[in-house]
């Protein structure tokens, strides 16, 4: 379940892309975890994430939410909820982590992002590191922006064809880059897609197509 690991981008681009994940551990501390996870979601939400969601429910962008997304997620929170918050700067991540530490919820917290940056704000315990994409890489999209956008949803729900179609719509003036990013974010079911970064990448992509 390495859905946040293989995000592509330069070091500078990835400085604007951090995900904080909170979850319980099956058989260890999941019984009665729901209130702690709900508290964690409130903390994630307090610092205005650009996306949020529960892997077992949906993201804030997923179509069909009739009420405020976080309230909906809180209503559906359960012992095995896996909450995410996406942030665009390390300073905010530090505030989130400091508050999660102070709350002492006992839930596992994982930050997905630049190791050398995250190390500055907290001590790492275990890591999952990426060593790249191997195999028949000629099957990957030819535009690096498409790869960068698509890997922001590790479950591959943001189609490369949709990215190209939306970029063409932006180029033709039918929609804005912001609207394109919202459609892409709605494809990502667990709320780890970074729409702010996507807007920048769409604007770069339209210069090439």
């Amino acid at each position: 379940m390495t859905h946040t690991l293989h995000r592509q981008g330069t070091y500078e681009e990835l400085k604007e892309d951090f995900i904080v994940l909170v979850m319980s551990a099956k058989w260890f501390n999941d019984k009665g975890a729901a209130p702690k996870l709900a508290e964690a979601l409130k903390i994630l939400n307090k610092y205005s994430p650009v996306n949020t969601g529960d892997m077992t429910q949906a993201s804030m962008y997923r179509a069909g939410f009739g009420i405020k997304p976080v309230e909906k997620l809180l209503q559906g929170c359960h012992d095995r909820s896996i909450f995410h918050g996406v942030y665009t700067d390390l300073e905010t991540v530090k505030k989130v982590v400091d508050e999660l530490k102070a709350a002492d919820l006992g839930m596992s917290v994982v930050i997905s992002g630049l190791y050398n940056e995250v190390k500055k704000i907290t001590r790492p315990h275990t890591v999952n590191l990426s060593i790249g994409i191997w195999g028949k890489t000629e099957l990957l999209p030819k535009h690096e922006e498409v790869l960068k956008i698509c890997t922001m949803c590790g479950h591959q729900f943001v189609s490369r064809h949709l990215v190209m179609k939306l970029a063409q719509d932006v180029k033709r003036g039918r929609i804005t880059a912001e609207e394109a990013a919202e459609v892409m974010a709605a494809c990502c079911s667990c709320g780890i897609f970074n729409p702010v970064r996507a807007i920048k990448l769409v604007n770069q992509l339209i210069q090439k197509i």
């Binding site: 095995r80 994982v110 191997w134």
Partner: protein
């Protein structure tokens, strides 16, 4: 997934949403409509859930009523569905995300997370997953809670349970295993060689503990085989309880 041809007006709105290009516009018996290529369809339901057909032509089969192969595709594509066998949402396990509590990965151990078929909807056939599993099986211990491991007849051999599985096309499959730090370079070399023979891509990840000086233990392995890690990682920061400890 099924598109009702009587409702579809071939507007093509849904076509780009499909990560694996499984939706085609066809003409049959004087009508033009969108049709699902059942082989390429991985049952991710993005077309149904997100594209939102203006004619309501998409008619998914509930997973409990799906034939076995379609159900397999569905669970290997869904991020939210909870596997009946593992109790986990998604395609893998908790792996290192709860390692501060479970202690699943210890110092001296290297975990492998081979995301086969990722990224960008390349997808993977089970036959390719089996090739990889068979190649690394002598040197690793597969994660027993992982959905791929559940497909194997014997984790010691890496062989899949049934020949009919081999041709099944999945959105992705995460092979999860671990080995000793000493054997890890050999496993990496095997993965690198096997990946050249496959008709797919693999997003390769390693899991390890972080030494007191802040260096991930896997760096020693990567130096031996001459591979640079990417700068971004998933980082468990040790807030879970009961805590297994830093050392």
């Amino acid at each position: 997934m099924y598109i009702n041809p009587a409702k579809c007006v071939a507007c093509t709105h849904c076509v780009p949403y499909c990560p694996t290009s499984a939706i085609q516009i066809v003409s049959e018996a004087g009508r033009t409509f969108a049709k699902i290529d059942e082989d390429k369809c991985v049952e991710c339901w993005i077309c149904y859930r997100v594209a939102r057909c203006p004619k309501d032509a998409f008619e998914p089969t509930p997973p409990e009523k799906m034939p076995f192969v379609r159900r397999l595709k569905f669970f290997f594509a869904s991020a939210t569905a909870v596997w009946p066998e593992t109790g986990m949402a998604g395609r893998g396990t908790e792996e290192m995300k709860t390692n501060d509590v479970t202690g699943r990965f210890k110092f001296g151990e290297i975990g492998f997370a081979l995301d086969m078929g990722r990224p960008t909807g390349v997808g993977v056939r089970v036959s390719d997953v089996e090739k990889m599993c068979k190649a690394i099986a002598p040197y690793v211990v597969f994660e027993m809670e992982n959905p791929v491991t559940k497909l194997l007849i014997d984790p010691k051999t890496g062989e899949v349970r049934s020949p009919e599985l081999r041709n099944v096309y999945l959105l992705s499959a995460v092979v999860e295993a671990k080995t000793s730090k000493e054997l890890a370079p050999k496993v990496l070399e095997i993965v690198r060689e096997v990946s050249k023979e496959l008709n797919t891509v693999i997003s390769v990840g390693l899991v390890c503990r972080v030494k007191p000086d802040g260096e991930p233990e896997a760096y020693e392995v990567l130096r031996q085989v001459g591979i640079e890690p990417r700068p971004n990682m998933k980082i468990n920061i040790g807030l879970g309880k009961p805590f297994v400890g830093w050392e």
